[in-house]
């Protein structure tokens, strides 16, 4: 099992019809096909089964398949909407669509809310923000005194938690992000606009590769 050459692409177990996916997302058919090139590479990097597992996702993000990261886990879980334990091509395209520059702020705000609502209670609670903050500091191997962390949390909740109930609900989050638009920066990938340039695919892929490995001398050129 795995991804077979492009002529038999349909048999790749992760593959789904690009026309259908294009109609569900912000991508054109050729963009979905370009994404498939990226998907093939990620999904085949550890186990060639046409699906992206957690290690492959970590490998793609960090160049290190063993690197565990709270935020990467959250992104993975949001891509894997049905909690199958792996991301298929449809999941991949539908989730990445939200990061497209032309997708609405509303969709991006919704996604980011779910991202930070670690336990899925429908609220971003103080202990969750604390956990994320500590995780972030850990990435840079920084440790702040607990007091300092509490001060940062106080400041954050003062701004975001308008009704003062100790947690941030969806509406408070929407308002907070509107006042701090840079928070949504992570929700847009300008690369997605150029995806067909970054990942060009040729139907005659294999044939061309054979030719270019030998340096073909041009007959019509002067030296």
């Amino acid at each position: 099992m795995g991804c077979l050459p492009s002529s038999q692409r349909k048999q790749c177990s992760g593959y789904q019809d690009p026309v259908a996916l294009a109609s569900q997302t912000a991508f054109s058919v050729s963009e979905v096909e370009a994404l498939f090139e990226l998907y093939k590479s990620i999904s085949g990097s550890v186990i060639d089964d046409g699906l992206i597992n957690k290690e492959e996702f970590q490998l793609a993000l960090f160049k290190n398949r063993k690197k565990e990261n709270l935020f990467a886990n959250r992104i993975f879980d949001l891509f894997d909407v049905k909690h199958k334990g792996f991301i298929d091509f449809g999941d991949f395209v539908r989730a990445l669509s939200i990061f497209h520059p032309k997708v609405s702020q509303e969709d991006k705000i919704n996604f980011s809310f779910k991202l930070y609502d670690l336990d899925g209670t429908g609220f971003i609670e103080r202990h969750e923000v604390k956990q994320m903050l500590i995780a972030l500091l850990g990435e840079s191997e920084m440790k702040l005194a607990d007091e300092t962390i509490e001060i940062i949390l106080d400041k954050t909740f003062l701004q975001a938690d308008v009704n003062g109930d100790g947690k941030i609900d969806k509406i408070e989050w929407q308002n907070f992000v509107s006042r701090n638009p840079s928070l949504l920066k992570i929700m847009t990938l300008p690369y997605l606009r150029d995806i067909t340039t970054t990942f060009p695919s040729f139907v005659f892929n294999t044939a061309v590769e054979e030719i270019v490995t030998k340096e073909v001398v041009c007959e019509n050129c002067d030296n």
Binding site: F62, L136, I152, I186, V216, C218, N223
Partner: protein, 139 residues
């Protein structure tokens, strides 16, 4: 700075890394097809690169472009090779040789825009040549 501003700095939330895989980059080089003569292809490439402020050095259908990165802080280099796939059908392979990948993609996009006159775009009538579907620089 509030907690969320710090959180957005996380590497785990920087999905642009998905598009920046070294292995990928070697396998999926940026390339286009041209029906012009190799001489025209190379001279066009040299002219465009020169107009983009890059130093050009060509030897045997291999052109090296060099310059400063977008923020002027580092080096940028690309290597372009012209291969004859069939009579009057050339594959132009462009590869990053040095510098930042993002800079490279920006360069490539701009480069292709200026080279539109030599880039072959597939249409119904020329599909018979067996190039069923190719992606040119812009889609």
């Amino acid at each position: 700075m509030n907690a969320f501003e710090m959180i957005t700095l996380s590497q785990g939330l920087n999905l642009s890394s998905l598009f920046d895989r070294q292995q990928d980059f070697i396998k999926r080089q940026t390339r286009f097809v041209s029906r012009k003569s190799a001489k025209v292809i190379i001279s066009s490439i040299e002219a465009v690169a020169g107009s983009m402020g890059l130093k050009v050095h060509t030897r045997n259908f291999k052109t090296r472009l060099e310059g400063l990165s977008a923020n002027k802080a580092g080096q940028f280099a690309a290597v372009i090779e012209v291969y004859e796939v069939a009579p009057s059908l050339f594959l132009v392979d462009v590869r990053k040789a040095a510098g930042d990948t993002l800079d490279y993609h920006k360069f490539y996009r701009s480069f292709c825009k200026k080279l539109e006159h030599i880039i072959w775009k597939p249409t119904e009538s020329n599909a018979k040549h067996g190039l069923l579907r190719t992606k040119s620089c812009d889609s």
